[in-house]
């Protein structure tokens, strides 16, 4: 598409009241990105045993990084805007900084410690309240979080907004009437689904190849806006949690596991002995 044309479309997008979402080719995409404990961070329980002690290292929830990458690719194809949103304490701003460095245009930070304890229903309600004055064509979430693992926030958000949704997405193609997405099903099956915009999609890891932030990107990110939203601003939109963690614990072991110790050479000998004489596979 010639660039003059793009400019015009962005202009239309910004200044005309858009009631038809497929009229322009521009895509305005919101990406929900969560900060979660690093994969190999050793976790300790808090005193009440209802959550972990927060003094661990954090990273971006894996599928959310793929969701951002997909949004950036869609913007490169169709022009438009990529906005990232997170809810969590001050530390979670890091996720937004990284996203801005990779190319997101701006960010929204629902900043408060209390957001960590919200169930998926309330997190989605807080997001819906935070974006009520915006007009997105697409919202991407990861398919599930590494900490809570609800696998629900995106679908709930879609329902709250009255939008259609599709989950576990491995491909997205914009067309005349909306989008065609590829859903991953169980056991190696897939399915294409046609759907109108606006829509919510939950993105599966591996949908694309992640990019790294460039030095220029990191520099430019410093000047990109992060809108901060305090808990008080969305408090009226959220309510009591509908589910409650009574206790958190290290899971009880159900299987009797035999540990094989020693130097690598000793382990190799012991293991081969078992493979041969107990398991009889050698």
């Amino acid at each position: 598409m010639p660039s003059a044309n793009c400019q015009l479309l962005i202009y239309t997008d910004k200044f005309a009241a858009r009631n038809s979402y497929v009229r322009s080719n521009v895509l305005k995409i919101l990406v929900c990105m969560k900060q979660v404990p690093q994969k190999d961070a050793p976790l300790k329980l808090n005193d009440a045993a209802t959550w972990i002690r927060e003094d661990v290292s954090y990273e971006v929830n894996e599928p959310d990084a793929f969701a951002l990458e997909e949004a950036l690719r869609q913007r490169e194809k169709h022009t438009g805007e990529v906005v990232v949103i997170t809810s969590g304490p001050a530390r979670s701003q890091q996720v937004l900084r990284e996203a801005l460095a990779k190319g997101a245009d701006r960010a929204i930070h629902l900043e408060d410690n209390a957001f960590v304890g919200l169930d998926a229903f309330n997190t989605a309600k807080a997001f819906a309240a935070a974006i009520k004055d915006e007009k997105f064509d697409l919202i991407f979430t990861g398919l599930q979080s590494d900490d809570y693992g609800y696998a629900q926030t995106g679908v709930i958000l879609a329902e709250l907004l009255g939008w259609p949704h599709a989950t576990i997405i491995m491909h997205i193609e914009k067309n005349e009437t909306g989008i065609r997405v590829k859903r991953e099903l169980e056991a190696g099956f897939f399915q294409y689904v046609d759907m109108p915009l606006p829509a919510v999609l939950t993105i599966q890891s591996g949908i694309n190849k992640l990019r790294y932030a460039t030095l220029i990107g990191i520099k430019q990110a410093k000047n990109k806006p992060i809108r901060k939203i305090a808990l008080a601003e969305v408090q009226s939109a959220i309510g009591e949690n509908l589910q409650k963690i009574e206790r958190l614990y290290v899971p009880e072991k159900t299987k009797k596991t035999v540990h094989i110790d020693g130097t690598p050479a000793e382990i190799a000998k012991k293991l081969v002995d078992k493979l041969r004489n107990e398991l009889r596979v050698l």
Partner: protein
């Protein structure tokens, strides 16, 4: 009337999905603990035929929820249909298997009713009259007991393998089946699903392999796959992997083990640098013997391993390969 549990079973291509029996077993266990009654529902055109299969189990009633709009599956139609059923029958607790289809529509259904889902549970506890659901958190490193803080209906989904389907009790006589015709108005369904397909013909059939050496992200780099391959060859087994390895293109997709890949049950499954996320475990927990090598002693894979080797796979694998070769040469 006593409180009721409603189990929604899942059908696929005219057959009941195997996990449906697990959820019925879960429902029966909760019914026994609480004294609540247990009903089942099957959603979709021609559910009546399959309803008879469910009615043979120990349940009070089976609802066959029907509308021509339920075929093919869409989250809009399923949520609308079940909302009508639940509003009419008012169960206290609604249980479903945590399948990809259920996770696609159940958060929508619960939200539409102003309720919540405790998702992906592995068990339940009934303590002093309170019902708690146990679920994994932090990728299986921790578990949580979770309660409902809202009014009924309560929704919970159970993880694949959480209960034993073959332990679903048969009923003394067939339960009555009630066909429930639901009205799904035009415009409710917004998605247009196309036919379900498989990407490409599978080049390897890992389900037949007796020995599988499987690599995870602990292998670090593509070039290190060769080391695992040599061990697999020495053992006369096949090479497989966790999802991130296939996502990276380090091994072809048809060697992926897990919920979105193959399900295998070899004599020996050797997991190298695999953490043991549930989506991987569902694909290999049927192995007769599981050996896991992982540098993290707390890795969830050790919960299901028969033999645990806590250590660096780069130290362990080469001498192991040599030792296997020696043993084979000597025999």
């Amino acid at each position: 009337m006593p409180d009721a549990i409603l189990v929604v079973v899942e059908q696929r291509e005219g057959k009941l999905n195997r996990v449906s029996w697990e959820t019925i077993a879960a429902g029966q266990a909760i019914a026994a603990a609480t004294g609540w009654t247990l009903d089942a529902a099957i959603v979709g055109e021609n559910g009546s035929a399959l309803a008879a299969e469910v009615a043979a189990k120990k349940v009070t009633k089976v609802y066959a929820v029907e509308s021509p709009k339920l075929e093919p599956y869409t989250p809009d139609a399923f949520a609308a249909a079940l909302k009508q059923l639940i509003a009419a029958k008012q169960p206290k607790l609604v249980l479903m298997p945590h399948t990809y289809q259920v996770r696609d529509f159940v958060p929508k259904l619960a939200t539409a009713m102003g309720r919540t889902v405790i998702s992906d549970c592995i068990g339940f506890k009934h303590e002093n009259g309170n019902l708690l659901f146990t679920r994994q958190m932090f990728q299986g490193k921790l578990a949580a007991d979770v309660s409902f803080a809202s009014e009924a209906p309560w929704f919970a989904t159970f993880q694949n393998g959480a209960f034993r389907g073959d332990q679903a009790e048969a009923g003394a006589s067939a339960a009555p089946i009630e066909t429930v015709k639901v009205e799904i108005t035009d415009g409710v369904i917004r998605n247009k699903p196309q036919d379900v397909f498989k990407e490409a013909k599978q080049a390897v059939d890992l389900t037949q392999a007796e020995i599988i050496v499987s690599v995870g992200r602990g292998i670090k780099e593509q070039k290190n796959i060769e080391m695992a391959k040599q061990l697999a060859e020495a053992l006369g087994g096949e090479l497989a992997a966790s999802r991130p390895i296939c996502d990276n293109g380090w091994l072809p997709m048809d060697r992926q083990i897990g919920s979105s890949g193959q399900t295998v049950a070899p004599k020996l499954y050797l997991a190298l640098g695999i953490s043991g996320a549930i989506q991987h475990i569902v694909g290999m927990k049927g192995a007769r013997t599981i050996i896991a090598v992982n540098k993290d002693s707390e890795a969830p894979i050790f919960e299901i391993a028969d033999y645990a080797i806590v250590g660096n796979l780069f130290d362990i694998v080469p001498p192991l390969t040599e030792e296997v070769k020696k043993a084979k040469a000597g025999s």
